[in-house]
């Protein structure tokens, strides 16, 4: 089964463009955060953020998508939680504000 998967390189980070096959997870938090912010600001109304927590696996999985591109990040480290919390706060602050 063929499926094109482009690795788009822009500036210092890259993300995988979804084209119908399995999506990969972004390797580092910094990469994810930067790419996520960028994707969200392109069109805040199109993007949705989802977060899945499984306690018995101790795993937190994040996804930010505008139904064209998709960014995913997975973590089991407790230290990442603070970063995720900060990220969600910023996201919510922007979503519920008057900013475009």
């Amino acid at each position: 089964m063929c499926g094109a998967r482009e690795i788009v390189r822009e500036h210092s980070f890259h993300y995988t463009k979804y084209s119908g096959i399995k999506m990969t997870y972004v390797k580092s938090w910094e990469e994810f955060e930067k790419a996520a912010e960028r994707l969200y600001l392109q069109d805040p109304m199109k993007v949705r953020y989802s977060m899945k927590y499984t306690h018995n696996k101790g795993c937190l999985s994040l996804k930010l998508t505008d139904d064209v591109d998709c960014l995913q990040y997975k973590t089991e480290i407790v230290q990442d939680l603070k970063k995720v919390e900060k990220f969600i706060n910023n996201l919510m602050r922007h979503m519920a504000s008057k900013e475009q």
Binding site: R48, Y49, K52, N56, L91
Partner: protein
Amino acid sequence: SQFLSELTRMFRRARSHGSVVLTMKRYDGRTKPAPREGRKPLPEPSEYMCLIRATLRTQKISTVVSCADRRLCI
């Protein structure tokens, strides 16, 4: 706040098995669908809000956070 207490209960229930999925999306407050061509378009949204949904197995809860509420939420 009712959402938050229910959400906490959800997380507690999910401790043994299952996962809680939390979703956030921007909401512009529109309750009507976009009108067809030639008709009056919907007015520009004056205020944006944040729609939050939480799912555990088959249970779904949601809430809308506006600018004023978000201080309580965060």
